[in-house]
């Protein structure tokens, strides 16, 4: 019972890897299918040729399914949106949304008196009768998904909690997503993330059920967990409630895999795909997270997501103009037809890399005709662009290792001037390895008033809470550790009255609290 299986469902390929400790004992790549699960079935069946299903202790799955659903506004449900603030409000989250998303989610917007101030004082007394009247309207409109937010719920969650209880009472058939459980400080962005999460719930239910079935179907009895954006995992029950936390798990899994395959905890990770390279910073074995609001399929959001920079350089990137132009155009997934080494007629980055001595892909002889000047120039462009991107990703001038993973990783071996790159064996399935190399985490992201407490007291309390949350999510209580601490005082507030704290704790995944309790009972 010591094997862990990681599965990463990407846009093109579904990769699976089996780990024994930190050793990869089996791996495979197969095409992703529109229903997700049949691709997973193929991948699992493949790796189970090499290992016994009874030896599998857990299965970890990372999927881009939900981000695709958001991008295409597919499978989303309408959402009722309730904000606790001081009515009437004039700025609503939907205003910046792309039309097609707005049309699906709808504009069922309600504002009720409530919310908090930055120091936790009440902004407005919660208008309970008003909230019950809103619930009646939601019921009458037949809406089943409610996104609930409260001003400064990250400082004082109480009004949001109380309102959620009242709404649950009035709307027993609805699910209520609270903004404090989803996003960070920044009301509009947190609400956007909360609404997207609520809109995904029906789809999440189906996908998660499907995952459970496909794993059980191949004879694995072990628990199934999903990779989250921050490199930690969550139970399927939690995934049913918070699908939004899985949407950026792809690059995260690659970076976690890079850490495991190299044993390095800090560095820059370059994940070379077919069209782009994703570049991010590994800190303490986890991807550095974005601290600013970012656009998610055209919606400004803020929640835990890796800070990854996408460079238009992949195996299929088209080389033109005697090597002076490298991309951004790419042949993408058609590389196996269009690249020279595969018998096509387009010169790609793969072709020039192979011509310059990268490990053979396709038929190297077909790339032999590219003239040396073109190769040299194109690889020079690639080197400059990569060096620049790596620089941009680092946080200090200190030298850090640069780890390259992904299907296109070996191509970089041919680029002159990049000899220090760390390219692990199994780089091609780093994402699946990363999924399997899961840890459980807990995070606190909140603004604290310093009126009655010191900064040190506040930090100690937040650390304790982050560790407790990590253990509840399945982290080994003995090995849980804090990996990230950040505190920023709010400006323009004389006297330093409030501090914004972000703390993250992680530990090796053992089992979730409910599973532990189940085992004890």
């Amino acid at each position: 019972m010591s094997l862990r299986i990681g599965v990463d469902v990407g846009g093109t390929n579904t990769d699976a890897a089996v780990l024994d400790g930190s050793r990869v004992v089996a791996s495979t790549k197969s095409p992703t299918t529109p229903d997700v699960t049949s691709g997973i079935l193929v991948a699992l069946t493949e790796v189970l040729h090499d290992v016994d299903a009874a030896d599998v202790s857990s299965v970890f799955i990372g999927t881009t399914h939900f981000i695709n659903a958001i991008a295409q506004a597919r499978g989303l449900e309408p959402v009722a949106f309730v904000r606790l603030a001081t009515p009437p409000q004039s700025m609503f989250p939907h205003s910046g949304w792309p039309e097609h998303l707005r049309a699906v989610v709808g504009e069922h917007i309600f504002v009720c008196a409530g919310g908090s101030q930055f120091d936790g004082r009440l902004l407005s007394e919660l208008d309970e009768p008003g909230l019950r009247a809103i619930a009646a309207e939601i019921r009458a409109a037949g809406l089943r998904r409610v996104a609930l937010s409260s001003v400064f719920s990250s400082v004082n969650p109480e009004p949001e909690d109380r309102a959620a209880a009242i709404l649950a009472e009035e709307l027993p058939d609805a699910t209520i997503t609270k903004s404090a459980d989803v996003g960070r400080v920044g009301l509009l962005e947190r609400e956007n993330a909360t609404i997207l999460n609520a809109a995904l719930l029906g789809l999440a239910e189906n996908v998660v059920d499907g995952l459970e079935k496909v794993v059980a179907g191949v004879g694995i009895a072990a628990p199934v967990l999903l990779s989250q954006n921050d490199g930690t995992v969550m139970s399927l029950d939690r995934a049913r409630a918070y699908p939004i936390f899985t949407i950026a798990s792809g690059p995260t899994n690659s970076m976690r895999g890079a850490a495991l395959l190299t044993g390095l905890q800090d560095g820059v990770v370059v994940d070379v795909g077919g069209t782009t390279s994703d570049i991010g910073l590994l800190q303490n074995g986890f991807p550095r997270e974005s601290t600013v609001a970012m656009s998610l399929a055209g919606v400004r959001s803020n929640f835990r997501i890796p800070d990854v920079f996408s460079l238009a350089l992949g195996g299929g990137t088209i080389v033109a103009d005697g090597g002076a132009v490298v991309g951004p155009e790419s042949v993408g997934y058609r590389i196996t037809e269009e690249a020279l080494v595969f018998g096509g007629s387009t010169v790609t980055f793969t072709d020039v890399a192979v011509a310059a001595g990268a490990p053979e892909v396709g038929e190297a002889a077909r790339a032999a005709g590219i003239d040396a000047a073109t190769t040299e120039r194109a690889l020079g462009v690639v080197r400059d662009r990569l060096v620049h991107a790596v620089e941009r990703t680092k946080l200090s001038e200190d030298a850090v290792p640069v780890i390259v993973v992904g299907g296109g990783a070996p191509l970089l071996k041919a680029v002159p001037g990049l000899e220090d790159l760390v390219i692990p064996d199994q780089a091609g399935v780093a994402n699946a390895v990363g999924a399997a190399f899961a840890e459980a985490g807990g995070e606190v992201d909140r603004t604290y008033s310093l009126a009655t407490r010191t900064r040190a007291e506040v930090l100690a309390e937040a650390e304790e809470e982050a560790c407790r949350l990590a253990v509840e999510a399945g982290a080994d209580p003995e090995l849980v550790r804090v990996i990230d601490v950040e505190d920023v005082p709010l400006t323009h507030l004389p006297g330093g009255g409030a501090v914004h704290v972000r703390i993250k704790a992680v530990g090796p995944f053992t089992a979730t609290k409910s599973e532990l309790e189940g085992a004890l009972a």
């Binding site: 409000q89 004039s90 700025m91 509009l188 941009r392 946080l395 200090s396 005082p489 004389p494 006297g495």
Partner: protein, 359 residues
């Protein structure tokens, strides 16, 4: 007179980030507020200072609070719709025009949220031509203009009317009041006549913001360098092109104080540059010599995209062009330098115009 519609507002908002000189608050929220007003009440007239009668009554409209609060407790249209009425009630005086106090950052566009519903035009001018952190740091102060009577209005109808002895007192009272109400409020302040406005304000400040925003947008569309486009248009000086090597930052008395050190690229290879900030960028040295100081504007822009980089965001690895833009002539007078010059912020150097140092 021009009409400010949604596109014009977007250009103005982007340009105001440059005029924010690294500070001024994220204008995104202000843009949303102003955009809603334009959608609801139609495009807002923007009038040249020359078109304003001498006996007209004018007042600054501004939001006051903390940027970290504003993104959570969003400003509401209701306060901007009422703030002028409240001042009229307090003073018994009608106001014919509103005007931004600062053209840098968030407050460049908040007057549009008041002007639309109030049916008054916005004047194409401001009291800074940039952003500064305190209420008394405006050009009218140089001419004896008074911040009060002012009105401050929060979302619960708490209303503060004040008459203060000095403009610095006005800052202290307003700051204490806004803290009590939860660090976000709307203000109408610095009432003045048209004649006074013509003497005291920075002319065309909003047009400048719009021009800068449009220059960046068009340069991006045409794939030419946005930094150069801004320099050409504003008679600016390229202070440095380089890579951010380290950033020191500390929070003191409610301010973010720090410095960013850069090493040179291109023509500046081998040289070193330090940009000093206290919320806004206030001074810059190249190879140890001051090359720009407040009140002139200092702004870091991302080298390729031209994206303005606020001092709160700048960090290691950014490749930037640092530009210097001349401050308005009001600030370059002895009285102006006294209020806004480098010594006021603790830098041991005299003010010298950025274009002179460069030349």
């Amino acid at each position: 007179m021009k009409l400010i519609d949604e596109q014009a507002l977007l250009d103005m908002t982007l340009g105001s980030t440059i005029l924010g000189s690294g500070g001024g608050g994220d204008p995104h929220v202000g843009m949303l507020l102003a955009r809603d007003a334009i959608r609801k009440h139609g495009p807002v007239p923007l009038v040249d200072l020359e078109e304003v009668p001498d006996d007209a009554n004018i007042v600054f409209i501004a939001g006051i609070g903390a940027p970290g609060v504003l993104i959570e407790k969003l400003p509401r249209a209701a306060e901007y719709e009422r703030v002028l009425q409240e001042l009229e009630r307090f003073t018994g005086q009608k106001y014919d025009y509103v005007c931004p106090a600062e053209a840098g950052g968030l407050n460049a566009v908040t007057p549009f949220a008041c002007a639309g519903p109030s049916g008054v035009p916005v004047i194409d001018a401001d009291g800074m031509g940039r952003a500064f952190p305190k209420l008394e740091m405006v050009t009218p102060t140089l001419y004896g203009g008074k911040a009060t009577p002012f009105v401050m209005l929060d979302e619960h109808g708490n209303t503060m009317f004040a008459e203060t002895a000095t403009n610095a007192w006005a800052e202290d009272y307003a700051r204490a009041g806004v803290l009590a109400s939860g660090a976000n409020a709307a203000m109408a302040l610095y009432p003045m006549t048209g004649a006074e406005a013509k003497q005291r304000l920075v002319r065309g400040a909003l047009t400048t913001a719009s021009d800068i925003g449009r220059a960046i947008r068009e340069a991006r569309e045409q794939h030419v360098n946005p930094v150069q486009a801004v320099l050409d248009q504003q008679d600016g000086v390229l202070l440095f092109t380089g890579k951010v090597q380290s950033v020191q930052r500390q929070n003191k008395d409610g301010w973010t104080i720090g410095e960013a050190t850069m090493v040179g690229l291109d023509a500046f290879e081998g040289q070193e540059f330090v940009m000093y900030f206290q919320n806004e960028n206030l001074a810059a040295t190249r190879n140890g010599e001051f090359v720009a100081t407040t009140p002139d504007l200092i702004m870091a822009m991302e080298l390729d995209s031209g994206e303005p980089i606020p001092s709160e965001v700048i960090r290691y690895g950014y490749r930037v062009a640092v530009i210097g833009l001349p401050a308005d002539a009001h600030w370059r007078t002895p009285a102006g330098v006294e209020i806004s010059g480098p010594r006021r912020f603790g830098y041991d150097t005299d003010f010298r115009a950025v274009e002179e140092i460069a030349g």
